[in-house]
């Protein structure tokens, strides 16, 4: 077997590799720290592959452009950070309702507002779920390692195509700018989901055909002339005021995610079998947590780590089961308390939940986490 290709890559560079591996052929973006390396990488790589790169006039336009290009049949990407993620919310909501697949990378930096552009944060977790107005489906994946940024970006594209919805890849500035050696996947090694082909006759095609939970999406210009709108619509894509159809469609776009949580969830469990105290966290904080848990084990404390790679939909079942087994769940996060609220909700009082929060632009250290673990030994 041929030796696998190794590369020393920055997190944002791995994101570019993952996007191209997944078949992304369109990128629109606007420069913003600490995500800009993704735009730079895509601007060099895409045209070599026949793909398109465009630097738009602002974040809103970038988000709109990737939705347009996705409707033309391409897999599309944009990348941003806090302030840009706020601006993109309007069009993210459009993609949720109109069910247009696309991927948004948010390399999280300190906020609110312009905040701390070069410092890490995990304070956009709730925004990734609730950022746009109205009830809407949300899928967010949360890699913690450079290798994982590549594989999770591929998974984000797969989920976007499979469920016809925008998918957000959330990672903090530390992971985005860290360099690690990674193994480049060979073609075919990681599953790549392509858009479902439309095979019916044009006159029988409905872009939101109610025969399906997720109807196949025909690209514009292929003989299937249809209408797409951000208004509540019928299965043919045209606006409606019919309360029954509005309700059904609003519920369906939630249900298409809710009914398939098993498929979308992905958790990494470390030492959870016999754990008495568990840590629940993502991204760079999970790296500190893993170190802390290892140190605790060396000290004879039965600590474990639950690390979700899908934060939305929230891993409610895994947390509920864990809560029944452990004395406490510790939730370190680079914000003033976001995931911890979800963990409390899902634990339903079955265990103690304690957050560790930091918003000074510095990482949560293993020592900080270990100190709290020791309280529950």
């Amino acid at each position: 077997m041929a030796e696998k290709k190794k590369k020393l890559l920055q997190g944002n560079e791995a994101c570019v590799e993952g996007a191209l591996y997944a078949g992304c052929r369109f990128y629109a973006g606007y420069p913003i720290t600490p995500s800009t390396e993704i735009a730079e990488g895509m601007s060099v790589r895409l045209p070599k592959l026949g793909g398109k790169f465009i630097q738009m006039e602002d974040e809103i336009a970038s988000m709109a452009a990737i939705i347009g290009a996705s409707l033309a049949g391409l897999k599309t990407l944009t990348a941003t950070s806090g302030p840009g993620f706020s601006l993109k919310q309007e069009a993210i909501g459009y993609a949720c309702l109109a069910e247009i697949p696309c991927v948004v990378i948010n390399v999280m930096r300190g906020g609110p507002s312009t905040g701390y552009p070069t410092g890490p944060s995990q304070a956009d977790i709730m925004q990734a779920k609730w950022g746009t107005h109205g009830d809407h489906p949300a899928i967010s994946v949360t890699p913690a390692y450079v290798q994982e940024i590549l594989t999770e970006t591929v998974r984000a594209f797969n989920l976007a195509e499979k469920y016809r919805t925008p998918v957000v890849v959330l990672y903090d500035e530390i992971v985005g700018h860290m360099r690690e050696p990674i193994t480049m996947p060979a073609p075919g090694e990681i599953e790549v989901v392509d858009r479902a082909k439309v095979t019916c006759k044009p006159e029988e095609y409905f872009p939101y055909d109610d025969k399906y939970e997720v109807a196949p999406l025909a690209p514009f210009g292929t003989g299937y002339r249809f209408h797409v709108t951000g208004l509540n619509h019928k299965q043919d894509g045209f606006p409606t005021n019919d309360p029954k159809i509005i309700r059904e469609n609003n519920e369906r776009i939630m249900r298409k995610i809710e009914n398939h949580k098993e498929d979308i969830w992905k958790n990494e469990e470390t030492f959870l079998d016999d754990a008495e105290v568990a840590v629940f966290t993502i991204g760079s904080t999970a790296r500190s947590a893993r170190y802390a848990v290892n140190e605790a084990r060396k000290a004879g404390i039965k600590a474990g780590l639950l690390r979700p790679l899908t934060i939305w939909p929230f891993p409610d079942r895994a947390v509920a089961e864990l809560a029944k087994k452990v004395k406490a769940i510790i939730v370190p996060e680079l914000n003033l308390g976001q995931m911890v609220l979800e963990v409390e909700r899902c634990s339903r009082g079955a265990t103690k939940v304690e957050g560790i929060h930091r918003v000074d632009g510095e990482p949560i250290t293993p020592a900080q986490i270990l100190e709290v673990i020791r309280k529950y030994k």
Binding site: K48, K52, D58, I60, A64, A65, A72, G221
Partner: protein, 287 residues
């Protein structure tokens, strides 16, 4: 001696244009008020598209939010009704992803020049091959008659009860200054001329902007004491504009304060998607 017989008038055989070929009849009637010019503009657009020879599958019509932006729902092409102000950004994504599509953007003056003003100037700057039809009625109709970026100074709107004090935008001047390679103006009143202008815009390679003056009798008309929809058309569209072809022949007082109609600017400048293919992709592949 009898007067020479008048030369026989050439009889024009007029075949009624079959709008149904391009309409989605089950999506009609449209939402527009009686007297609104949008329907006239829609018909001119359909005749221009027909003349252009593009098939229905090759045409993509994109809009933002507002009265005019409801147009895509009524026409049988690839159609996209997007967000307020963002039509040009969605359209840019579609066009760059699939340059073989003919993308026409239908937008209003508020949509294009206020909330979408940034997208408007940058689209023009790129000179990407989009045809942009701005339905300029100087009011926000869908929300009930607020003043817009083209409302004339002193005019009444529900948010300018004491008269607007803001200098209005001239969409054509903006487009030209921003780099659009085809800039024209028409009105709903001059419907045949409008058809010709839109056709020329569609056939032009690059960003083509047509500012179309059409009246909103329901809000602008009522609030500014116009007697009727036709009165508005006569005052604003017929008497309020001058064709570029006549402007040199007219005394200055007959041109003063009037909008120019016709093709106001045209140059052959490299188009964005072609530049992307010939410069960026070729260089990237060679490297």
């Amino acid at each position: 001696m009898s007067a020479p017989a008048a030369p026989e008038k050439k009889e024009k055989i007029s075949v009624p244009f079959d709008y149904n070929k391009y309409l989605r009849p089950n999506k009609l009637p449209h939402i527009w008020c009686p007297g609104c010019g949008h329907g006239i503009v829609l018909k001119a657009m359909l005749r221009a598209i027909d003349k252009s020879g593009f098939s229905k599958d090759q045409i993509c019509v994109v809009s933002g939010i507002g009265c005019s932006s409801r147009t895509p729902g009524y026409v049988d092409f690839n159609t996209l009704h997007t967000l307020h102000g963002r039509a040009l950004s969605f359209a840019t994504g579609i066009k760059l992803a699939k340059p073989e599509l003919k993308v026409i953007v239908v937008t209003g003056d508020g949509d294009a020049l206020a909330i979408g003003g940034n997208h408007f100037i940058h689209t023009c700057r790129r000179n990407i091959d989009l045809t942009v039809l701005v339905f300029t009625n100087a009011i926000y109709g869908m929300t009930g008659g607020q003043y817009s970026p083209t409302t004339p100074m002193g005019s009444q709107a529900t948010t300018s009860r004491y008269g607007s004090i803001e200098k209005p935008f001239d969409a054509c001047e903006m487009a030209k200054a921003s780099g659009a390679s085809f800039v024209a103006r028409g009105t709903a009143y001059h419907t045949l001329e409008l058809e010709k202008t839109i056709h020329e815009a569609i056939m032009h390679k690059g960003t083509s902007v047509v500012d179309i003056i059409d009246a909103c009798p329901t809000y602008f008309g009522r609030m500014n004491k116009y007697k009727s929809a036709t009165h508005m058309m006569e005052v604003l569209e017929k008497d309020g504009t001058v064709s570029v072809k006549q402007v040199d022949k007219l005394p200055p007082e007959k041109v003063q304060g009037k909008f120019l109609r016709g093709v106001l600017h045209k140059d052959e400048r490299p188009e964005y998607c072609e530049q992307y293919a010939s410069l960026i992709m070729e260089k990237a592949k060679a490297k």
